[in-house]
Amino acid sequence: MINTFEDREVAVEKRFIRKEKDIREDIAWAQINKDVLKSLERPRMLFWVIFIASLALFMVGVACEIYQYQTGMGVANLDNPHVWGLYIGTFIFWIGMSHSGTLLSAILHIMHADWRKPIYRFAEAMTTFSLMTAGLFVMVHLGRVWQFYYVVAYPNERWTWPNFQSPLVWDATAIFTYLTSSMIFLYIGMIPDLAICRDNATGFRKKFYTFLSLGWMGTDRQWANFRVTYLTVACFLIPLAVSVHSIVATDFAVSQQPGWHISSFPPYFVAGALYSGCAAIITLFIVLRYVFRFEEYMTMPILEKTAKLTFAIAMVWTYLNLVEYASTWYGNDMYAKQALIYRATGDYAPYWWMMNFLGSVVPFSMAFKRVRNNIPAMLVISILLNVGMWLERWMIVSPTFANGIYPWTWDHDQWPSMIQWGIVAGSFGWFNMLFMLFCKIFPSVSMYEVKEMVYHRSIHTRETEASSINQELAVEGAAS
């Protein structure tokens, strides 16, 4: 029986706590600034542990590369015809990793899924840095890295140009486009927050942020232009992201080699990319949440939503994966079929099966709410998924070389040397290092967008709650 204003308040309160929210709506804006800006000051100890560890790992990679540079690619234990190895595999892996940033920020932005707001910033950062890492691998892989600029189409006195027919040149263009565009996207989206940093920083940092924030004042004119630009760039980024990984896929799909020459490769690669990217987001989500005490913003419901998204993409990937096998099998092309059988039964079989298990079976664990809400479990799963996706890339590259068209040159003995493994490990160090640095220097949660989120949601809920109460009152009134 509700008849007094107090009762009504209580009822509203009840409904407030009934459903768990993506984010607390009564959180004060000043508090948001405070919390996020704190992440630029004093993170937990773990931050430094991760940072130092990554630095060390990176150094290992650098050492290996220097040795390889001096001695020649032979130290990678590649051979004729097994000329590509972990470098290319890991290159694809990092390119793939970069896709989810765009997915989260651009696609969800267009779809007005506002739960992305607290987490898209670091996802975009991830995009940028994994692209940088991928770029490194192109270099590391080259036999004469000191001549890499031959790939660039720069005017020269001899009128020699790169071969625009080569998928590698498409790669170079696409990656360059993607890298710069996503950096711009990241930066534009960060300007209002940089302004906030500027307003709260002192000393050297103040100069730094002042410079970066370009004198942003949040005037209506700025906001209007900002809104349009952000949306436009987002619209550009989505097809770009798709095209980038399709092009990487064409590196293989346009070649004649069995196991590569498959028309379903581009979508397959894109799905794999989003897949590994989402898994990576979950991992970093959990790490940042702990390291920077972001429990308020990176809440369990958001984690769960991300998990659901990952699960969906995992299923898409699984489907395309099976399509690849099926089409190879029924296509009944001798070379391709032999290559497929070799993958499943030959020297790479253990890794191939592990890839399939991790990529297609493990994600089902995320079907359970219990698992989705269990942070340690999600951490482990997300890492497992990425291991699986890395294996997938390796299983695309190596078995084809080991068991290609020409039987005389089949090579079943090749195994990556410690140098290759070292450089691959180094790349992870490099990525983590950059990422951690970024999170330390820039707000890894978008403050103004969280404010918007809180603002709009609070308005929304207030209205819905109010209306529902009124209905109840009406009902009860009729009853009495």
């Binding site: 001695t71 020649g72 690619m73 004729n80 015809p81 000329v83 080259l142 071969n163 070389f401 005389w408």
Partner: protein
């Protein structure tokens, strides 16, 4: 400049190699097209061609360990196959197959090189430009015959202990680490012959020039020449064997021996092989 001439002869730019008449004696595109015919029935697998290639083209001796790692640099290799349905013993002997770069007309390696280091020459060779190569190894990855060899090590510093460098052929460069290399049909010899012929206002005569392997082969299993010249031996052999350079699938009598390896991949190789014969009554 470029745009105008682009518009002027658009059709020329859209012409897809190999097209009939691309090579002909009245200089449509080039009056040379080097080709080979290799008779597998008289090839004894003696490796004389391989050694000749080492001598002519400054191929490094890589040593046991690197050979084991598959980093050997033989531009021409002799493959030995046993028959698939061989009983207890190989009663019909072995099958030897000398495999060198097939100088494909539609070479899979050429299109994928990011820097255009490998491309087609006017006289129909699949050239490899060491100075341009950056070692992406995509060409090798896409080569169906796997006849491209990558310099995984800095061989010039290790492969020729003094005074072995004195033997190196000054007409052929020594390749450094990180570049791809492959059979060139001894292009240095071809160029010498061509320039000699040019100074005498004539074309290179048939048999005037031949790659080292052809020259060495004790059984003369390999025939080399300019297939554009209908009177050259190699052209006559191709014709006689009913193998057409511009076709990707030959319709020929089953008594005829000529064929090109992996033709179904449509690389249009410039090397015609002639089937090995065995006396089934024996």
């Amino acid at each position: 400049m470029s745009i105008t001439n682009l518009l002027n002869n658009w059709s020329f730019y859209r012409n897809k190699r190999p097209y009939r008449g691309q090579y002909d004696l009245n200089r449509q595109y080039s009056e040379y097209k080097w080709a080979m015919a290799l008779d597998l029935d008289v090839c004894t697998g003696c490796n004389a061609c391989t050694t000749a290639c080492y001598a002519e083209n400054n191929l490094p001796v890589v040593g046991k360990k690197r050979f084991q790692h598959g980093q050997v640099m033989h531009w021409i290799r002799i493959e030995r196959y046993w028959d698939e349905k061989m009983g207890e013993f190989p009663e019909k002997g072995a099958s030897f197959l000398p495999m060198m770069c097939q100088q494909c007309e539609a070479a899979p390696c050429e299109t994928v090189c990011p820097v255009g280091a490998t491309s087609h020459t006017n006289d129909g060779l699949n050239s490899q430009n060491y100075h341009r190569c950056i070692g992406s190894r995509y060409c090798s990855a896409n080569c169906p015959y796997k006849v491209r060899y990558f310099n995984f090590w800095n061989y010039p510093s290790t492969a020729w202990p003094a005074p072995l460098p004195d033997q190196l052929n000054p007409d052929v460069t020594v390749r450094t680490k990180g570049v791809m290399e492959k059979c060139s049909f001894c292009v240095q010899r071809l160029n010498e012959a061509k320039s000699r012929a040019r100074t005498e206002y004539r074309l290179v005569k048939d048999g005037e020039v031949s790659p080292a392997c052809v020259q060495a082969c004790p059984t003369s299993a390999i025939t080399f020449g300019n297939i554009v010249d209908p009177k050259s031996k190699v052209a006559m052999m191709w014709k006689n064997q009913q193998v057409d350079l511009y076709k990707d699938m030959q319709e020929k009598d089953n008594t005829v021996r000529g064929y090109r390896i992996l033709e179904d991949l449509r690389p249009f190789p410039s090397v015609m092989y002639m089937e090995r014969i065995r006396d089934m009554e024996a």
